[in-house]
């Protein structure tokens, strides 16, 4: 289904993997839970939950504070997690890895520092038509503040970006391009490397929202040549409250701090404060230490499974689910891009997505129903909401079969 998939990868031992996720043995409304909502939040493997508990039980203290052995241990574990993230996305230096609360905070940070530095009255910010609200609203706020305008890369009916006119859309007033790597609604894998190259040809930096990409495909920020690459821990089988901003060091060095406070200063006097270098400059206050360590553990888990094997498994499930759901009369899949990650949005004639979501819930099937924080896409496709199933490495063909039969039951009820 996708050129990024390695067809020769050894299949995953899904039965063994499922034992790492206690939630998967829950019963909902008398039915075994079928978790098809990893695009909302990925489940954490037990070893991550246990690693975080160990920190809280045996190691809890603050990081980068004082000379105690405990503080040094916590700092070492916390910084080791940063190194795991660096390696995971192929960054050159851990100085380029800034901890944030998540994708949303990462983008706000860039908009409020880099954006405020670069964008002025009459300038343009170019976004794709399939951005999540997290990659729209911070730029809209900046544009309002500065008197700048937002421009949009349009979409085809299949859910692919129309790049024919990209060179015209990037003008001499464009100050930054924001593009999602994998659409959380349509599943489209965007050709971000090409978009970045074409923006760079005009001297324009690019921020990539990788929230839905990192769980599904191997990302190499150096190969992409992304200026900024952002994602959340909890979509990556990690905890909530932790996220990552990757930025090229030259950008991070040139950016002013965002939040002020402890941990980000070199020296403070009543007259003047000086700041430490990136990434610390952007990390005021006490961070979510357990969450950072937990994310590092989840990355170890995913790498042990193998990103290529995960991608192959998920694409196989996506192809199977696409075939099965497409055969249902009155059901329409939104997003038919050639290159897709395992996110499947659909609408059914005469059944609102929320009703579908509730009825699937009654069958133990957990999906997302709604506008997916991407209302411009709903408007583009003329629907109020969609139902979205997303597949992870622990899902099976049987999960897809349960989904399909639950959808058929819902259609029967509404007949």
């Amino acid at each position: 289904m996708s050129p990024t998939v390695n067809a020769t990868a050894q299949p995953l031992d899904v039965a063994a993997i499922r034992r790492d996720f206690p939630l998967l043995s829950r019963i909902l409304h008398g039915k075994p839970v079928v978790y098809l909502d990893s695009a909302v939040s990925g489940q954490m493997p037990l070893r991550t939950i246990e690693r975080m508990a160990k920190y809280e039980r045996d190691e809890h203290t603050n990081v980068h504070r004082g000379v105690s052995t405990l503080s040094q241990e916590a700092t070492d574990a916390y910084e080791a997690a940063r190194e795991k993230v660096r390696k995971f996305i192929g960054a050159a230096s851990i100085k380029e890895i800034v901890w944030t609360r998540g994708t949303t905070e990462s983008i706000n940070l860039v908009a409020q520092t880099f954006g405020r530095m670069k964008v002025g009255a009459g300038d343009e910010i170019l976004l794709s038509a399939m951005e999540h609200h997290a990659d729209i609203v911070p730029w809209q706020m900046l544009a309002e503040e500065k008197g700048a305008t937002l421009k949009v890369i349009p979409l085809t009916d299949d859910g692919e970006l129309i790049l024919d006119s990209l060179d015209e859309l990037i003008t001499d007033r464009t100050r930054i391009v924001g593009v999602v790597h994998v659409s959380n609604v349509l599943g489209t894998i965007n050709p971000v490397k090409e978009i970045i190259a074409r923006a760079h040809a005009k001297g324009v930096p690019v921020l990539v929202d990788g929230a839905q990409a990192v769980p599904h495909l191997k990302v190499d920020v150096k190969d992409l040549d992304a200026d900024f690459y952002v994602f959340s821990g909890h979509k990556l089988s990690g905890p909530t409250g932790i996220g990552v901003l990757y930025g090229k060091l030259a950008h991070l060095d040139a950016m002013p701090p965002w939040h002020g406070g402890g941990n980000m200063i070199r020296s403070v006097s009543w007259e003047k404060t000086t700041y430490i270098a990136a990434p610390g400059k952007f990390e005021a206050g006490t961070p979510p230490i357990a969450a950072a360590i937990g994310l590092g553990e989840s990355i170890d888990y995913l790498e042990a499974l193998g990103l290529d094997r995960i991608a192959a498994h998920e694409h196989e499930l996506l192809a199977y689910a696409t075939e099965k759901l497409s055969a249902i009369p009155g059901l329409r899949i939104l997003g038919q891009a050639k290159d897709k990650a395992s996110v499947l949005s659909f609408v059914v004639d005469g059944i609102h997505a929320h009703d579908m979501g509730s009825l699937l819930d009654g069958e133990g099937v957990v999906v997302r129903a709604g506008h997916h924080c991407a209302q411009p896409i709903m408007t583009r496709f003329g629907v109020p909401a969609t139902t979205r199933a997303s597949f992870a490495y622990f899902n099976t063909r049987e999960d897809v079969d349960v989904l399909v039969s639950a959808v058929l039951k819902a259609i029967e009820i509404f007949k």
């Binding site: 609102h352 009703d355 509730s358 009654g362 709604g370 109020p384």
Partner: protein, 149 residues
């Protein structure tokens, strides 16, 4: 926990498929728009009130079956009632779906609208059932917009 499937009774499904009082009254004396930011459901409510009585009422918009059937049944229930009675029904309906009032004993004005009482066990759907009533309340108070935030 209530099975979500139990909510989809025949009356609700039937009103969803064929909503009563669907459309817009022009001219009208009272008007409000309801919005559920969680799901994007929208409801446009127009009313003609004369001498303190709801002479006519229509709704328009898009939403889920719970929202649409609630609006359909609400418009039928308040038509012909006084403004005070409509407000009292609104109070009882909202109390019922929030689980604060017992539908059997504490919601005498609601009649068949008590079939929405099961919504109280599905917190994510309470806002869907309440949206028409919140919009009605806003229209009666002379407010242009209602939100279930």
């Amino acid at each position: 926990m209530t099975d979500p499937r139990e909510l989809y009774q025949q009356v609700i499904l039937e009103h969803n498929k064929k909503p009563r009082n669907f459309g817009k009254l022009e001219p009208c004396t009272h008007h409000a728009e309801g919005y559920n930011p969680l799901c994007g459901d929208q409801l446009d409510l127009t009313m003609v009130i004369e001498d303190g009585v709801v002479k006519d009422i229509k709704f328009h918009g898009s939403g889920c079956a719970i929202d649409v059937s609630s609006a359909s049944l609400m418009t039928g229930a308040v038509k012909g009632k006084t403004v005070a009675e409509a407000e009292a029904m609104s109070e009882q309906f909202r109390g019922m779906v929030r689980g604060e009032l017992d539908p059997a004993t504490q919601a005498p004005l609601l009649g068949k609208l008590t079939l929405f009482s099961g919504v109280k066990d599905l917190p994510s759907r309470v806002k869907c059932a309440v949206l028409p009533w919140a919009t009605l309340h806003a229209a009666l108070k002379g407010e242009a917009e209602a939100s279930t935030e």
